[in-house]
Point group: C2
Chain length 346, copies 2
DNA sequence: GGCAAGTATGTAAGCGCTTACATAACAAAT
DNA sequence: ATTTGTTATGTAAGCGCTTACATACTTGCC
């Protein structure tokens, strides 16, 4: 039940009210709020007192309309469902906060069309800059963005040959390192559970990293089984089940991310298989959950927080008018934990 | 490296451009976009063609400034870190989408001051309505909200005696049902790992639900141990460790949510305890992970999606000017899975 | 044919803010 | 005392849109 206890009379103060209250012009009030050192200390204090007293807070729409600037950054991530992007985005947001900028997040569900629409929406909403995940998208999308002169930062990927700057990591090299560890353990029957590679350059790079490992170690990658599936715990489990019906049965399953790996691990256990004795499983991302499973997940650690922070810094510099920026590649690292071991003796 | 391939000349069309292009006035263009049936079919088609051709999309700031409406709903959740709010919020967002509204999300980190600030920010940004988690907050916050005449919907809680309408569930009754099951299993030494109860009415209600269960079953709740901690897997684990040092050692640990329970479960296992043979553990929320642990988590299922959807519908009705709304209480349900069993024979 | 009652479109006044430019106030230099 | 330069504040023109009101055009009916 809503008790409509007669609310206090609606009065939302505007600059004009503050100006009158402080005995100055609206311009001075505006300056007090936006570039305080342009106004004399004494005046400033008077204005700020008026602001306080009236409970004034500037109207965002009016401000953005006049200033042609929203102090808002848009980010479009593939999904909020799992924790993969959470930590990096959190750091991104925190860093933006130190510049007085706000973050607007949208998720595309790994769907290119939806992503394009979200980009349009965020730009229409006046986003001063955009954070996008991965380089791959339709050229028309980039055309639209360039037309509106909106700075873009790409993250969760690193490719200096692409037109947009990125702060990320080398998905291919990272996965190659992981796959090499798997090969070194003695595994020869290896399978990959990957995200759908179409429209996802990170997934493609990771699979190609596995192949690169085979080559670098002098093996043939013809026999490598790759299953593509959506990211979810259950899908990971299903893919794992499918893999276990193959002959020869893979002794190691390399997963495109931790969520998939979690699903595989859980399925293995509920199938009565011991990990890593009967089968090895590896992940990618090193989300919090990876340390909590039993055994803990062997995975590729990604410096999510550093990545988010640095992406925010550089993107904001671009927004603030500084010239184009170089890309930055952050180091990843294989975290050996409990799910990778030598193949079974058989 | 950023290749600044000379971008196409910047030209962002405005209503005036579209109007001229279609040979009508700006008012007509505006009407075409906002209330299409007010304009004749023939004219409308002409205008829409111009819109298409110029790639026009209305400036959000200008539109909100003029219309005094943003079609934006703000939501402030305690945390994005774990999955607890993800599903409900997703449904909330989807439902809003069907009304043409957008969602702005902020997180407060369970901190009342931060939450108050976020509320101010969202209102300054012109949010037409607000989704808040739980009823409890400082009266001055509600005063501010009422002054601005911003409709508020409370969720993840249900209390029809509170001034703001809510769409949620009865935290107390839900937890009472769970605790009764635990008691029925024969447990007498029971501990609770709760979120910090200060400023969190949901946590308080849940603990009080456990006590209510003791009473309803004719037991004394004096011996009930309650540990408060932040929500995180690790904190849950630490709390669990601490509980296991108590004498008599609890045979069942009721957790305030699934994340805490997950931490407890994992810690139990890494301590070499068998669940539920040596100790029972229960959760709350039924997030995806709860079904994936081994054994799967016995927990309280909350209809997150229904809750989100219904909250969106009702909040939007309030925004659209319909009168005050009743609160809605959704049913919860104890999901018996693998982590609750009878106490050990000893 | 003329009038009332619609219906479709145009005109123009803001919405609340920022900011280029104008002005005022003052200090330093002549 | 006048000029010049510097700094602090004021004036007012928009930013791109919506919408109340005015106007023009239909149509139906006596």
């Amino acid at each position: 039940m809503t008790t409509k206890k007669s609310p206090p009379t609606e009065f939302v103060p505007t600059v004009a009210d503050v100006a009158q209250h402080a005995g100055v012009s609206t311009a001075t009030v505006s300056r007090c709020l936006n570039s305080p050192d342009q106004v004399q200390k004494k005046t400033r204090e008077r204005v700020l007192a008026a602001v306080e007293e009236l409970g004034y807070s500037p109207n965002f729409s009016a401000r953005s309309l006049a200033a042609k600037r929203t102090n808002t950054i848009g980010a479009i991530i593939p999904t909020m469902d799992n924790a993969i992007f959470a930590r990096g985005l959190q750091a991104f947001q925190e860093e933006l906060g130190t510049f007085g900028a706000t973050l607007l997040v949208a998720s595309s569900g790994y769907h290119p069309d939806l992503e394009a629409e979200q980009i349009r929406t965020l730009i229409a909403r006046g986003a001063d800059g955009l954070l996008l995940i991965g380089h791959h998208r339709d050229p028309s999308v980039y055309e639209f963005i360039d037309r509106r002169r909106v700075p873009v930062m790409v993250s969760w990927a690193y490719d200096p040959t692409q037109p947009k700057p990125s702060v990320g990591f080398d998905n291919r090299a990272a996965m190659q390192a992981m796959a090499e560890r798997v090969l070194e353990m003695g595994h020869r029957h290896i399978a990959v559970i990957s995200a759908v590679q179409a429209n996802n350059d990170r997934a493609r790079e990771r699979v190609s990293g596995v192949r690169a490992a085979f080559q670098s170690r002098g093996f043939d990658d013809q026999g490598l089984i790759v299953i593509e599936t959506d990211y979810s715990i259950e899908r990971g489990g299903n893919a794992f089940s499918e893999l276990m019906t193959q002959t020869p049965r893979p002794t190691a399953v390399i997963c495109g991310n931790d969520v998939l790996a979690l699903g595989a691990l859980q399925r293995a256990q509920s199938m009565g298989m011991r990990v890593p004795d009967d089968v090895s499983i590896t992940g990618f991302d090193d989300i919090e959950l990876a340390t909590v499973t039993v055994p803990a997940l062997t995975t590729v650690h990604v410096p999510h927080r550093d990545m988010g922070r640095e992406a925010a810094r550089r993107l904001w510099q671009m927004v603030d008018g500084d010239g184009p920026h170089d890309s930055l590649c952050l180091p990843t690292e294989v975290r050996m934990r409990g799910t990778l071991g030598p193949p079974p003796a058989t």
